[in-house]
Subunit: 315 residues, 2 copies
């Protein structure tokens, strides 16, 4: 297996996961189209299993393991959606999932992971604590570590969302995805550039966690230092594999303000009557903030997930 | 035209409105089914135009007017979804809508009605003020009054939601709808008893606004006095036409607590990632509160709408 996945790996991933993952709907909103003067098509991964696209990658990783490796289980550290996704995928294959979670993770995410029967180890909310705790867990269990985004099979799995979006036979001019660790964005870029070579792939990132934006412009990985954004799914820094794919295939990365993220999220809640988490609102925020020229364009947007603490809403 | 609509009127209404109204999706939730130990099918009228089933009835009423009557426009008093629905339907036919709204109506609903180009007259939030203000407006404009629920064409229009739900070819054992004025419930009962005579029709009502429950048991209309519930769409008292149909065709009416309404609403938000208003949560609340025996039953639930003030959530 080569270092970086190509479209064929996404094709294979799609066959692997289709028994387990939802083929999520693509929704449109007349009133949001009126506001932006455009045609937006939203791929609703908030309706995916565990409420986020993360299930695609985790599921592909779990079901790509050999029988022998699978028996030892899987492990990861994650503050959120990847943890729940890996826990559910492992449960579906009937193997153990060992999840290291920062003790500050949102209650809704802790509950979800526990609900899928995973073994949870809580740690301090620092990258160092997460990594050292995970190392211990892996040493004890010999489970296979499944990184949330810097992982071949995870990237291939995440690319299936854009594949489905494009297979809806719409000739998109632009596809926009949010970027955190880069798993969704790198998979989206591989699918799009294969299936619609003329279509631009643009990433939207919170200005308060803009390592992808800076790395993309500098041509080298520049990790985040103290990132801060309401879009908690996008706090992580780009992975190496993800950056390699993004550098080659993504057309542009733009940043957006916190204010516009909240505005975009509320707009989608009010007009589309669907619940998305702040990370999912970042692409629409970029359009509302005029960071992407969408004049007379057909635009696909990946709504990454719908998990958030309803007791702590920003409005 | 007879006093009360029959199934044939719902059939005709469906043909009238299908160019204008959405055929809303029917969603299921594995995790909610697990909690209730059952199969629930949710007819998502929160995704209907104007965000509520009310558009069906208003649309049917507007497009059933003669050319001559239509020219003079339509009028109503409504604190919410019916106002927006009538305003949009009138706009689609290119006629005037005159809406009397209590000045205390939620901002989101005032904005929606204004956005559809209706002429709004604000009044005090009492039934007396609403009726006398409307009478004045009708006298001045000669517009046709379209009552929110006690209206032949409105009832026929509301019945199309259950028609679509049943046409999904599911043999339901029970269909549950919330009840306020009784437009949705009476239309639902007519459709269900024609298309699935064996299926029970049960209404769920907030205990704090239980005039339908009391009227149903007493066999005569007993209007609400000072009803109080978070389910603001259900504060109204049953209409005469609605009560006549409900008395004949509905199998039971049950009441639920405010606490369970909020719990059911949050459950649907969290698990299904869709936004519903409190009124829509009343049927699931009845199941959670064990007011309806759903053991081994296939249950259809009408989610009536998704309009609420996101700045004033109960959690």
């Amino acid at each position: 297996m080569s270092f970086l996945p190509v479209y064929n790996d996404i094709y294979t991933a799609h066959q692997t996961i289709q028994k387990y993952a939802h083929r999520t709907p693509v929704l449109t909103s007349t009133s949001i189209n009126k506001i932006v003067g455009n045609s937006l098509f939203f791929k609703c991964e908030n309706f995916q299993k565990v409420g986020a696209f993360k299930f695609r990658g985790a599921c592909n990783a779990v079901f790509s393991l050999s029988e022998e490796d699978a028996k030892k289980g899987v492990a990861t550290h994650s503050s959120g959606n990847h943890a729940a996704a890996l826990a559910l995928a492992a449960k579906m294959r009937g193997i153990a999932a060992h999840i290291v979670m920062p003790r500050t993770s949102p209650e809704i995410k802790k509950k979800a992971v526990a609900g899928y029967g995973a073994h949870i180890t809580f740690c301090e909310p620092t990258l160092e604590a997460r990594e050292s705790t995970l190392a211990k867990v892996v040493e004890e269990t010999r489970a296979t570590e499944i990184h949330p985004y810097n992982n071949f099979h995870v990237i291939a799995g995440q690319g299936t969302a854009a594949k489905e979006l494009i297979e809806g036979k719409r000739k998109f001019d632009i596809i926009i995805a949010p970027v955190g660790g880069g798993g969704l964005l790198s998979g989206t870029a591989i699918s799009t550039k294969k299936l619609l070579p003329e279509c631009k792939v643009i990433a939207a990132e919170p200005a308060g966690a803009d390592d992808a934006f800076r790395s993309f412009r500098a041509g080298k990985l520049i990790p985040s230092v103290n990132p801060k954004t309401i879009a908690d799914g996008l706090l992580t820094s780009l992975g190496e594999r993800n950056f390699a794919i993004i550098s080659e295939k993504v057309d542009d990365i733009v940043t957006v303000s916190e204010e516009k993220i909240v505005e975009a999220m509320r707009l989608i809640w009010e007009r589309m009557k669907i619940i998305i988490e702040p990370s999912s609102a970042v692409p629409l925020a970029a359009i509302l903030e005029n960071k992407i020229n969408v004049q007379n364009k057909k635009v696909g947007i990946i709504l990454s997930g719908g998990n958030l603490d309803l007791g702590k809403l920003p409005f």
